[in-house]
Amino acid sequence: MSAFLHGPALWYATRATGLVTMLLLTAAVLLGVLTTGRFAGTSNWPRFLTVGLHRNLSLLVLVFLALHVGTTVVDQFVSIPLAAAFIPFASSYKAVWLSLGAVALDLLIALVATSLIRNRLGLRTWRWVHWAAYICWPVALAHGLGAGTDRGTLWVFVLTIACAAVVTGVATWRFVGAARAGAR
C-alpha cells in the first residue's frame, strides 16, 4: 500500500488526468465559442449538437478534474492538502502554480453551478458569470505549464500550445465577426 501511495502510479494518474482535463476543457471552451458564433446549423452538424456537447463535456471535465485532484491529494510523495485544490497558497509545494489551479477550479465550479440553476438566476446574471470562462481556461493552461511535471516533455508542451492556439483562433473569429456584424 505504501509503495502505491509513494510510488509513481498516482503521479502518472495525476499527470494523465490533468492532461485529459486540459483537452476536455479546451474542447468545452471551443464548443462554447462556436455556440455563440453560430457555427454550422446543418443537418450533419445541428446547432443543438454544439451546445449539447459543450454542456456534456463541461460535466466530464468535472469528473476528470475530481480524479486529478484526488490522485494529487492521495499521493504521499509530496504532501498537498485537499484545501489547496480550492484555496490559493494553501500548499507550500509549487505554491503559485497550484494556486492557479485552485483559481481555475473555483471558477469552473461557479460556471457549472450557475449554469445548472440558470432558470432561477435569469439570463443577465448567468451571462455575466459565464464570461469567467475566458479567465478559467487560460489560468488552467498556465497551471498545467507551471505545476505540471511534464512541461519539459515536448509533446505535452506542443499539445498545450496547440490548445491555446485553437481557442485563440476561434475566439478571434467569433469576436471579429460579431464586431463586423455590429452590436447584436
Binding site: 455556440t35 455563440t36 453560430r38 446549423g41 445541428p46 446547432r47 443543438f48 451546445v51 449539447g52 440558470r118 432558470n119 439570463l123 447584436r184
Partner: protein, 73 residues
C-alpha cells in the same frame, strides 16, 4: 396539465436550436426566428419540448401553463 410554448422575442437571437429539436412545433422564418405552430404542446412531444427549452442559449423559449394569462393583450 397542458403546457404552451412562448418565445421571448427580445431574448431570442435566432440560434435556431429550438427548431432543430422540435420541428413538430417550431419552424424558422426567413430571418431565422421561431414561428410556433400551435401554442399548446401535445403530450407526445413533451420531452422534446423540454429539451428544446433547455437548449436555447438565451433562454428565450418558455414552457408555461397553458391556462396562464392570455398572450399579447
Amino acid at each position: 396539465m397542458t403546457y404552451r410554448l412562448r418565445v421571448n422575442p427580445i431574448a431570442c437571437t435566432a440560434h435556431g436550436m429550438c427548431a432543430e429539436l422540435l420541428p413538430e412545433l417550431i419552424e424558422l422564418d426567413p430571418w431565422g426566428y421561431p414561428i410556433l405552430a400551435s401554442p399548446t404542446v401535445p403530450a407526445s412531444v413533451m420531452d422534446h419540448a423540454r429539451r428544446a427549452v433547455d437548449a436555447c442559449p438565451t433562454m428565450a423559449l418558455l414552457l408555461e401553463d397553458a391556462t396562464g394569462p392570455p398572450l399579447l393583450s
